[in-house]
Symmetry: C2
């Protein structure tokens, strides 16, 4: 059975100091003699003492608990690379810093989703939230969270939130632009675009970048068709045919993420098209699936795992640093266009 764990008082007794002093040592507080500090640490070692996070949280109000909030529908989407990778990064970021992160799946579009996020603060006593799209663009939600005294870092915000709150991400607009330039260079002039879900503003920036690149070549509304998917493989398979049947007869399909591009690829296969000879297809994210499909997908790489890790680090810095009111920081990472084998001259 569980034997009783040593407490801070045991450590105090063994090392011959007061409980407060042990607490100071444990929390790295100043004004403790080096000799005493060493003695306490030795006792900690010897007793295999671990602080009780519950007690610490109760006394100090610091739960050292973060939450990573993502929106996938738990029924349909058991494996979005984007969220898994963010999560893994966040987990890794926490490891070294003594924080824990609660993974929270809060389906979007439900009337109580704001409340469920806010409940994380009151119910679980989370001190900081990492919000992935589309929550990272939900200014009202973010302000409500901040009003509770809980810190926030957004991942891939696309709209107003990008300038107003701490965040991490890549330049999605530039990513879309760079990728499209490549397609234009290959001679494509008629495009289909499979956009992402409404409200995912960073994904819409990819479309914006696409449009800017076209505009520079004198192409406009009449030269491309847009449909909206939900980031899943399935939606790619459904939507690609619509684009291919469009009177425009696009020679390239640009997709807001890799899963939909993989779906489009599959739909193209099913029609007997040879990729990239008959049609170019591009994705975004550089998820594992991009390398798995045949032929491997041309896409835009973004360092998703790093994003998750950096988000945690930023959050903890806000929590522990004294700079409570310093201006928000959006940390931007580089993207890279990865040309694989789904793109060829028109």
């Amino acid at each position: 059975m569980r034997t009783k764990r040593p407490t801070i008082d045991d450590v105090a007794r063994v090392s011959g100091v007061a409980r407060v002093t042990v607490s100071r040592v444990l929390n790295g507080a100043p004004n403790v003699r080096e000799e005493v500090r060493a003695r306490v640490m030795q006792a900690v070692e010897h007793l295999d003492y671990k602080v009780n996070p519950q007690a610490r949280g109760l006394a100090g109000g610091a739960s050292r608990l973060l939450a990573f909030v993502f929106a996938s529908d738990p029924e349909n989407d058991p494996n979005s690379y984007y969220e898994s990778a963010l999560e893994l990064g966040a987990l890794r970021g926490c490891l070294a810093l003594g924080y824990q992160v609660l993974i929270q799946n809060v389906p979007n579009q439900t009337p109580d989703c704001h409340q469920r996020v806010l409940d994380l603060i009151t119910t679980q006593r989370c001190e900081g939230l990492i919000l992935s799209p589309p929550y990272s663009d939900d200014v009202a939600l973010i302000e409500a969270v901040l009003a509770q005294g809980c810190k926030v870092v957004t991942v891939s915000p696309g709209g107003a939130a990008k300038n107003r709150f701490d965040g991490v991400g890549v330049d999605d607009e530039a990513g879309g632009y760079d990728l499209t330039r490549e397609l234009l260079r290959l001679g494509h002039r008629r495009f289909g675009f499979i956009a992402g879900l409404e409200g995912h503003l960073s994904a819409d920036l990819r479309l914006k970048g696409f449009q800017r690149a076209l505009g520079e070549q004198g192409l406009g509304e009449g030269d491309y068709a847009v449909v909206r998917g939900d980031f899943t493989f399935r939606s790619g398979t459904h939507l690609a045919p619509k684009l291919l049947d469009h009177p425009l007869a696009p020679t390239a399909l640009v997709c807001a993420n890799d899963d939909m591009a993989a779906g489009a690829l599959s739909a193209a296969h099913a029609r007997g098209l040879t990729i990239p000879r008959d049609l170019s297809i591009t994705g975004f994210d550089d998820a594992p699936v991009a390398a798995i499909v045949w032929p491997p997908l041309t896409t835009v790489h973004q360092p998703v795992k790093i994003l998750g890790q950096r988000a945690v680090e930023l959050l903890i810095a806000r929590l522990t640093g004294g700079d409570v009111a310093s201006p928000p920081v959006f940390q931007q990472f580089d993207h890279v266009v990865v040309s694989r084998q789904t793109t060829a001259p028109a």
Copy 2:
């Protein structure tokens, strides 16, 4: 800023009862008049009171915290469907039951991995652990955890652990058997088998089932070749050529999971083979990738998300139920052979 949350004493004052009575109501204890219970609940509602889990944990020793332990190397494997799906199921299972689950990535093969798992109990005060392979087969670890008074549910144990501890999973041996029967029915007589990592006993059971099916047809050691991968797409791409170059010249490649099968498929494409005309390939798990690759993969479906959810439910039942010493339960779910388009007559 964060306004002070109401405490149990506030609720007690508003509802005109003692603090203990509120505690009883909150915990569903017996011996409270219905009228009083209603009055307390009304005060809770009115004040928007939420129990402070830190305080509850400190006082009662119940953290209501579980941990889901998985082994992937965080550097290489950002997106194993199997673990993501288990996790999602576990998250969902917790939602309704008022528990929280900490996701813990503990790389296997490191000397301190046992200690890191045990630290979850002492450091985080987890009351129960969900162990996925290969930890679910690590009898020494499981016994050490149980010795600390922490409950365990294993996911897909394959060896001795299956009979000795609570667990969930499918009959992997039968899955391998059923799938192989199908291949034999199609006339295949020479096989390559891409097995999983050492120590993942449930994956080895798939090989056992494969061997049993062969044995029934009078086939044996001379009729198949086995290589070991690490469950990744990449390992499938590396290992498939070895099997294809084997003097046996197998007509079917059986893989211990879908990712490796997808890798094998990709390697086969790269050789110019037409699947399934020139070679049959099968996977296991029915991960999304099985439907994404071209042609879609014949595989064995197992309800991974349900496994995760059920694991949590079993764990919480152990934790809250009085049947502390009742015999271990292995809950087995049905598998289904899903015949898609990577299998054809030899």
